[in-house]
């Protein structure tokens, strides 16, 4: 057999078998396949959501129902007493949980919001310089900033505490915001650097022809186009800030600055707060990042995968 006819036979056979398989799949395997797929997706959803559902379930029922055996998989009776009690509505709030939780949620918002704004502003300017401008030591600076991404919290925790203590900043919003910002900057730089590089230079060049300065081009041309990237950096910085625990555990000492993570851990440690209330606190502490993540997940995906494929 000649090489040509061999190849031809193989091609025909391949085409035949492909067509046959497609036919067979259409005929019999499609229902099985679809079922397999639905089961796979259901398992993934169960794994991802069950603990969250379980917290909601417990927070929405009575303590005796939550403590029943075997467990009740739906909240019956469905009551809002845990939330009322956490908010201090209709009677005494247990151990001042409502004031603690309310204030700590505010603290979390100020600290993660402040860190988000500071991180994004600093990162936009610096990432633009790295992506577009030429200057000495650019590569060295860029690489050393990104290297701190791999620096574990261990490396800086104690010195940061001592620096803040020596400046008299322990238990202030400023200390928390500064420390968060220094931690989030490398990731924000990485996200924005990649995003700026994906924007065609022609856009700015048009602005330069019109006589704009680089600064003006950045603010008027690049920033509006880069909004998805900026949103990605901002939402990720905010979520990381909201989730912090170890640093605020060390840097904050009372309710004037303690974020909700520290308060939830403290309430949990008391071992006297019933689980229905504990779950209501947990749901409230997770509500802000949870809702943000659900609404803005597109930007999270963008930010988390920035540059990881290249």
């Amino acid at each position: 057999m000649t090489a040509d006819s061999q190849a031809e036979t193989r091609l025909t056979r391949a085409a035949d078998s492909a067509a046959a398989r497609r036919f067979a799949r259409a005929l019999s395997r499609r229902p099985a396949r679809a079922l397999g797929r639905v089961i796979t997706l259901a398992v993934i959803l169960l794994w991802s959501l069950f603990p969250i559902y379980w917290a909601l379930n417990t927070s929405l029922t009575t303590l005796s129902a939550a403590d029943s055996t075997p467990a009740r998989y739906v909240p019956s009776p469905l009551v809002g007493t845990s939330y009322k009690s956490v908010f201090g509505i209709g009677g005494a709030s247990q151990d001042g949980i409502s004031s603690q939780l309310g204030r700590s949620l505010l603290n979390s918002a100020v600290e993660s919001g402040g860190a988000m704004i500071l991180t994004v502003v600093i990162a936009v300017f610096a990432a633009y310089a790295f992506a577009r401008l030429q200057f000495r030591f650019k590569r060295t600076i860029f690489v050393s900033v990104l290297a701190t991404l791999l620096l574990p919290a261990y490396a800086t925790l104690i010195p940061l505490y001592r620096i803040m203590a020596s400046l008299g900043l322990v238990n202030t919003y400023i200390a928390v915001i500064l420390v968060y910002t220094s931690g989030f900057l490398p990731l924000a730089i990485w996200i924005l650097y990649n995003y700026f590089n994906s924007i065609p230079r022609e856009l700015e060049e048009a602005a330069f022809v019109d006589g704009a300065s680089p600064m003006r081009a950045l603010l008027r041309v690049v920033v509006p186009v880069a909004m998805p990237g900026i949103a990605a950096a901002a939402i990720i910085a905010f979520l990381l800030g909201w989730a912090q625990f170890l640093f605020p555990l060390v840097l904050t000492t009372d309710l004037s600055t303690q974020p909700v993570t520290v308060i939830v851990a403290a309430l949990n440690q008391q071992r006297i707060v019933p689980f229905t209330l504990m779950m209501a606190c947990g749901v409230l502490a997770a509500a802000v990042p949870g809702v943000l993540a659900l609404i803005l997940n597109r930007y999270i995906v963008e930010g988390v995968t920035a540059g990881s494929v290249k």
Binding site: I44, A55, P152, A155, P159, L178, V264, N297
Partner: protein, 295 residues
């Protein structure tokens, strides 16, 4: 003339706030940790004095700290393997377009977005020995005869159950990174393999796997750094008991409860070095760029 000078200075002006932050709050503290690890630093019992490797020797004489090193190695092993395997599975299941894919993605990301402290509190309720749903569900399925105390009795079981909580949180990260790599593979490759008669499994092994290898390496290193740093979940689910303690927890206890800053510094330095070495080893092992995997 003035505008030219301004133009030359502009890049430095733009990066200087970043530099101030990174130098003052990352570089200086790291150097400080490295230096102070060799000093006796006790804020309540001065003076501070040079001790050479004294701090390090004391660390290895402390059984609680030695235990926490072994524990952390187990946390890392479980965390890296489980989050990468699960992340790859989720990435494969969600890579193609289908109805509700957007909603699925949003829901799958959720555990990553929530504070680990809150998640650990939720899981502590799931693991609860008397009323926990884990006991109840396993009993209903006849997988266990009676209710178990899950945490705090058996060392390896405690560590595994605590690490599951972290794996639950960080798996979405691995899934997203690996999914992005899967989506960048040209569909023609799969089509060609299909024409050649390759099944789903063999085309995953021969096309997907080699091409997502760099992404798997990135995901593995992220999981490595996160699990080496495990603190929140251990703090909530294990407290400060040595049984399931992690190195980060011991660093916290040594520094802020025993107020032995020198010991804390030494411990921090060791883990920083271990993190750097392990990440580099992991990258060297996994990160091989594959240009053309199909031959």
């Amino acid at each position: 003339m003035r505008t030219r000078l301004r133009r030359q200075l502009l890049p430095y002006i733009l990066v200087s706030p970043l530099l101030v932050f990174i130098v003052a709050l990352s570089f200086v503290p790291t150097v400080d940790t490295t230096v102070e690890a060799f000093f006796r630093v006790m804020p309540l019992d001065p003076p501070t004095a040079f001790t050479g490797v004294g701090n390090f020797r004391a660390l290895f004489d402390n059984p609680a700290i030695v235990t926490s090193w072994v524990n952390t190695a187990v946390y890392v092993a479980i965390g890296v393997v489980a989050s990468v395997v699960l992340g790859t599975a989720i990435a494969v299941a969600l890579r193609r377009r289908f109805r509700f894919r957007g909603i699925m993605l949003a829901l799958v990301i959720l555990p990553w977005a929530l504070p680990s402290v809150v998640e650990a509190v939720i899981w502590s309720w799931i693991y609860n020995p008397t009323f926990g749903v884990l006991n109840s569900a396993l009993k209903s399925l006849h997988a266990i005869g009676g209710y178990h105390v899950w945490l705090g009795l058996d060392r390896w079981l405690t560590i595994a159950l605590i690490e599951i909580v972290q794996v639950w949180q960080i798996t979405p990260l691995s899934a997203l990174i690996i999914m992005a790599a899967l989506q960048s593979i040209p569909p023609d490759l799969y089509e060609a393999a299909r024409v050649d008669g390759a099944g789903a499994l063999s085309s995953f092994r021969r096309i997907s796997l080699p091409l997502i290898r760099p992404a798997v390496a990135v995901a593995a290193v992220e999981a490595l750094v996160l699990s080496l740093n495990i603190f929140d979940q251990v703090y909530i689910l294990n407290g400060i008991a040595p049984l399931g303690s992690s190195v980060m927890l011991q660093t916290y206890v040594t520094t802020f409860e025993d107020l032995n800053f020198g010991g804390g510094y030494a411990l921090s330095l060791l883990v920083t070095a271990a993190t750097a070495l392990a990440s580099m080893a992991m990258l060297a092992l996994l990160y091989r760029r594959t240009e053309a995997a199909v031959t």
